[in-house]
Amino acid sequence: MRRILLVLFIVATVSTAAFAETITTTVNGMVCAFCATGIEKTFRKQPEVATVHVDLPKKVVTITTKPGKTLSDAKIKEVVTYSGYTMGTITRMK
């Protein structure tokens, strides 16, 4: 029984770690495409980030992390602030 639980634990851990995470954040102040470039480029420089998508009408940035990687809320806030904007609400999906 212990072995089964151990195997299940390892499988669960490995599979969780192998998944990429999709994070969306609303951004206050992001009103033009010219301005949004800074956010896109700054997120792309993060080693954990695989893709970045900007939805200007909704003022939302969607980040997909590399498998097994994540970005903390604090890091996302730091990137958005460093780009000159204010972070809104964060939503995460594995």
């Binding site: 206050n28 992001m30 009103v31 033009c32 480029k41 602030t81």
Partner: protein, 216 residues
Amino acid sequence: MKTFNQLPYYLILASLVLGGAAKTAQAKPLSYVGGTMVMQENDETGHTLSIDYTFDPHFALGLYSKYEINQKEFWMVGPEINTLIKRWNLPDGQGNIFSMTGVGTARQGGNTQLAAWAYFLADYETRRWFFSYEPRFTYAGNIEKSFWQRGYAGFAPYLANYDQLNTWFLIRLDHHPAKNEHFVVTPVIRFFYKTIWLEAGYSSNNHVMVNWTVQF
């Protein structure tokens, strides 16, 4: 009381305090950290070329050059520093106050003078509306001493997404208190796509205006 001849030293001091050099424009004078911006303007006041590197969310350093043609011709060049003094990030809009100041030289024929300039830009934009106001102070010894101001107001006829061509219709009003034509009005059409920005217009004093900016 300060004489006008002492003005350059106060402008230099203001430049050092505020950051800054000259620039133009309604593309914002800062890009993202690590970004380089090349901006070129051709309008009824002259021809401008500037290159700026943004090294901090609030500061960009660069080189500014302008060939002035508004009544008297002279060339001005120097390093500039652009400063984001204040930004308001709102859910549906953004407001900014920038300063753009610099110190360099001005040349008119064989006459070379110390030059200093301080421009300020206040803007507010939403996805639909854009407004800006920009007072400019220039000192170039016995070549030029001027204050003039510029305002833009405009709207986007459609709301484009990030990876689509954005189009704006604007009216630009320049006020030159020391020139023969105090007021110059220019209807402007502006396009931008991601990091490329272009605007064109034709002024009330019959000058073609073409400005462009590229970030990389």
